[in-house]
């Protein structure tokens, strides 16, 4: 696919920002005294859970769909890309079909349908979402909207990073470090394009669930390596076997490295965000915060940006995380 051959650059991120102006939410950057004290530095939280559809995925989806001619789109996603594509397609008057795993959080499936998209459920163990998506695209003429390996998607997600740079500058602060959750790597690749351009010398870290640290190990190895089959986590948004091809091209060049957190550390980060930030953050959206809370990186005297990438979490999981005694 030719799109993969042309990696995006910071100008593409800026163009995406112009495309998204007045459509995407310019999400706030929030601070917590409790968190700053714990980190010994300043931690700026980019609240992408407050984005349209409850995650950053709307950015890339809208940027991509606004550039295609087809009157219908198809996507495969465990949920956040699904909602992003469904909502963007609705705004742009295109029909959307989303291929989702039958075990995706109910809230993500319901919300995707609520945006007017058709949902095709599949069995994660027995069926290939790529094959189903390609079949629907071939049969209906719908354009396939990839979740991360597309320069328009990466540029769209990068607008979150562009905003972080602008918002940090408006606070008169100099960013030393940035951390973001990493699944396929589109969010962090896009943010890295924007942030390394705006903040020379910044160290950017991908954060992944333990056992699903394909990006961390790929960065260390210098090539894309896969997670062990069957590895799983409560971070449903981050359950991918390998880094993306396009995203890894960018990330190996721009990232400082990868960090991992356990599911229990992620649950505690969800509880912290509930208690101190008053934000609803989903497991996959909370891993970068979890890395800060557990001191995976020394932040004394430094200023760090942390992306809270989404908030689409089923009530039962959230309720269990906030009422657990370990917080």
């Amino acid at each position: 696919m030719e799109a993969v051959d042309r990696p995006p650059n910071v100008a593409d991120v800026e163009a995406a920002a112009a495309q998204l102006r007045g459509v995407a939410v310019r999400t706030p950057v929030l601070e917590s005294e409790a968190l700053n004290e714990r980190a010994g530095g300043r931690v700026l939280l980019k609240a992408e859970c407050l984005q349209r559809t409850g995650s950053f995925k709307f950015r890339g989806a809208y940027n991509t769909i606004s550039q295609i001619d087809a009157s219908a789109v198809v996507a495969y996603s465990s949920g956040n890309h699904a909602q992003g594509v469904a909502a963007a397609a609705k705004l742009l008057n295109k029909r959307a079909t989303i291929v989702m795993p039958a075990d995706a959080p109910a809230i993500k499936i319901e919300n995707t349908r609520a945006y007017g998209a058709g949902v095709r459920l599949y069995d994660r163990a027995r069926e290939s979402r790529e094959a189903i998506g390609a079949e629907i695209a071939a049969r209906t003429g719908a354009a396939l909207i990839r979740p991360y390996d597309d320069p328009r998607i990466v540029a769209g997600q990068g607008t979150a990073g562009l905003e972080i740079a602008e918002q940090t500058e408006a606070h008169g602060l100099n960013l030393h470090v940035a951390l973001a959750p990493c699944g396929g790597g589109g969010l962090i690749a896009g943010c890295a394009l924007a942030l390394t351009s705006a903040c020379p010398g910044i160290a950017i870290y991908a954060v992944e669930p333990a056992g699903l640290d394909d990006t961390r190990r790929s960065l260390a190895a210098g090539e894309r390596v896969a997670n062990a089959p069957g590895a799983t986590s409560i971070c449903d948004a981050l359950l991918l076997p390998t880094p993306g091809e396009l995203t890894f091209q960018i990330n190996r060049r721009l990232l400082a490295g990868g960090l991992t957190v356990t599911d229990d550390e992620t649950r505690q980060a969800i509880a912290f965000a509930f208690r101190h930030l008053k934000l609803v953050v989903e497991p996959g959206g909370a891993v970068a915060l979890a890395a800060v809370l557990t001191g995976k990186l020394a932040l004394e005297g430094r200023t760090a940006a942390v992306v809270l990438s989404g908030g689409n979490v089923d009530p039962a999981l959230f309720a269990a995380a906030i009422t657990a005694r370990s917080q």
Copy 2:
């Protein structure tokens, strides 16, 4: 007390905004497609749960304490004013003692202590918080920081309304209606000063829990009336017997009326905010949203501002609200 004799005006609110600049969070105004569809109009949500200390109370507390000479302060509060005073006193290098009911939410008591304040618990049924506060003030020379009946408090809370007016104008919108939770009436009185000045013709409604609608009934009667003794609600922030003296002077002049919601409607509003807004809202902070969700006011074709005034809620109550089947 002479302060009560001099009601604040919009110039006082503007002066408070200058005082709070760079200290209070300029909280975002958020929108939800699901909510707009349900209301048939545009609903702008002022997310004061994202304010320092998790509620709007920081605004009035900081504005007041920054104007006093005493090196110590004392306050009585079920929790949000407590945290606001404790955090503001800490920032301004003053000692704080807070008189809190023993049955206040644990999270509010713990957070108040975490800001470095001394906490004196009392029995809501057998002791008078006013008497305890006055005794501490007399004995220690601490300045009493009232929760609402003080023009500096009202002006401080009104900065939330000033921001709503500015943020709405930045969106190119014209506000027709505003709704805010009402306990002692400081928040809505301050917001009414700012909003009636910036948006002539706006209709402003106080929202209260059913059975604790002293402001609604007082507005109808033209004089301050009390709730039935023993009336209670899950809205711990709004459990007050009568409207404030100063606040009612303002509210009877500027408000369009009062609305009430049941505790079950409030729980459903908490669940809605969890699901669609990704915000943690406490019961007392969710009543104005509950009024919109249950259609207590016709909003078709109109633009309404709704204040989500706080997010300090105990995990067990929140977990029960979001997992209840009725949502």
